[in-house]
C-alpha cells in the first residue's frame, strides 16, 4: 500500500511537470483536433481525467 501511495505521489509530480514548460510546449499546438478540441486543450484535459482516474484507483485499492 505504501508503494502504491508513493507511485501516485510520483504520478502527480510528473503530471505537474508535464503541465508546464518545457514538456507542455511539445503539445501546445492548435492542431490536430482531438475529440473536437485543439491539441493544447485536449492535452490538459487528458491530464485532468487521468488525475481523477489515478486517484480513484488508489482510493478503491485502499478501500479493499
Amino acid at each position: 500500500m505504501r508503494r502504491a501511495r508513493r507511485a501516485v505521489a510520483l504520478f502527480f509530480l510528473v503530471a505537474f511537470l508535464s503541465l508546464i514548460w518545457p514538456v507542455y510546449s511539445y503539445f501546445a499546438g492548435e492542431r490536430p483536433l482531438v475529440l473536437g478540441m485543439p491539441l493544447s486543450l485536449f492535452y490538459v484535459a487528458a491530464w485532468l481525467v487521468a488525475s481523477f482516474l489515478v486517484l480513484l484507483g488508489l482510493f478503491l485499492l485502499e478501500e479493499r
Partner: protein, 490 residues
Amino acid sequence: MSSGGWIVVLAVTLGYLLASLVIGVLSGRRISKGTEGYVAGDRGLGFISLYFIMGASIFSAFAFLGGPGWAYSRGAASFYILAYAAVGLTPWYFLAPKISRLGRERGYVTQAELFADRFQSKSLSAILAVISILGFLPYLTLQIKGAGYVFAVVTEGRIPVWAGALIAYGVVLIYVFKSGVMGVAWTNTMQGVFMLVLAWSLGLYLPAKLYGGVGPMFDQLADQVPELLRAPGLAADGSAWTWGGYSSAVAISTIGFSMWPHYFMRIFTARSERSLKQMVVFYPTFGIFLIPILFIGFCGVLRFPGVEPADTILPTILTSLDLPAVVIGLFCAGALAASMSTGDALLHASGSVLVRDLYRVLVRPDIDDAQQTRFIRILVVVIGAIAFYFAVASDLSLVLMLLLSYGFVAQIMPVFVVTFFWPRASRAGVVAGLVTGCLVTAIWNLWPELQWNEIHPGLWGLAAHIVVLFAVSKLTRPIDPVHTGPFLGT
C-alpha cells in the same frame, strides 16, 4: 430580449435568491451553538457537502464570468485553470485525514490553529491571520462587485450596481450570520448543481447554435486565429504570453490552491477521513466541468469580435441571441450563484480567522466559546460592510491586491510541509521564513522592473522563504520532540 423581458429575468433571479435564503437559514437549525458548530459544522459534513463546498469555490465569479472572458481574449492562457484543478488539491489526499484527526483531538477549527500549535507560536497565528485577511478581502470585494454587475445588466440599468450587490449580499449575510458553515455548505450544494447544469447546457448549446458544434468551432478558430489556440496563449495586451508567465502561474496556483485558509478549514468540517479522501478524488471532475465554460468564451471570438471588457462576453452573447427571458434569468441566477458561493465562504472564514487566530490569541485568551461565536457573527457583518464599501465606492486597485494575495497564500506551503516532515524546523525559522517570503513577494510585485521572464513574484518569495526557513532553523533550537511527535508520526 423583448421589452419587459427584464421583469421575467428579475423574477427568476429573485426566485433563486429566495431559495438560497430559505435553504441557508434552515440548514443551521441542527448545529450546536459554539464555535465547533458555527465554524466546523460539528465536524459532520459528508462527501456530497464537502464536494460542493470545495467545488463551488473554483466556480467563483472568476470562473463563470472571468473564465469565458479569458478564453475569449487570451485563448489558451485560460487552460491554466484546468492545469491547477488537475493537481492542486492532491496534497490533501495524503495529509488531510491526519490533519482532520489532529483537529478532532486538539480542537482546531482554523488553519492557523494547527500551525500555531505545532510551532508553539502566537506570532505565527497572528501573521497567518493577517495573510488570510489580506487574501480574502480583494476576493470578497470582487465577488460582491460581480453580483452587482449581474443585476445591473439584467435590469438594463434599472437596478444600479450598489443596490444589486446589496440585495445579493444581504441574502448571503443573513444565512452566514444565522447558520455559519452549514449555511455555506447547503447553499453551495444547491448553487453547485445549478451552475453545473447551466455550464454544460450553455457550453454545448452555444457552439452548436453558432458554429454547428464544438469541433467545427475549433476548426474555424485553428484556421483563422491559430495563435489564440496555441499554448501559452495571449497576454492581457494581446501579444503572445511567455512560457515563464504561464508556467509560473500554474505553479503558484497549484502550490497555493490547497493552502487557502478558507478551503483548509473545510478539513475540520469533515465527518470522516473517508469522506475527505472521496472529496479529493472527485475534485478534478470540477475541472472537467469548467471545460464547457471555456467553450462559451471561444464561441465569441469569430462571431462577436471586439467586446470590451472581455468579461462581459457571456452576457453579450446571451442577450444578442434572442433567447427566451427565462433562459437569461437562469443565467443571471447562475452568475449570482457563482459569486455568492465563493463570497459566503470568504465572509465566514474572515470572521472565524479574526476571532480565533487574532483576537483570541493576542487580546483575550480567556474568551468563552459562546462569546467567540457571537463575536464572529458581528465581524461577519463588519467585514461584509467593508468589502461592500470597496466594491461600490472605492477605486482601490484590486488587481494588485489579488496578485499579492496569491503570492502570499503560496507562502503557507513550506510551513505546511515542515509541519509534517521536518522535525528540525524551529519556531524562529518558520516565522522568519514566512515573513521573508511575503516581503520578497511584495517587493517583486511593487517593482515590476525586477521581473525576469514574467516569473510570478510569489515564486521568488518561495525561494527566499525556503532558504531562510532552513538557515534560521539550523541556527536555533528545535521544538521538543515530545510535542512534535503527533505531527510527524504517520
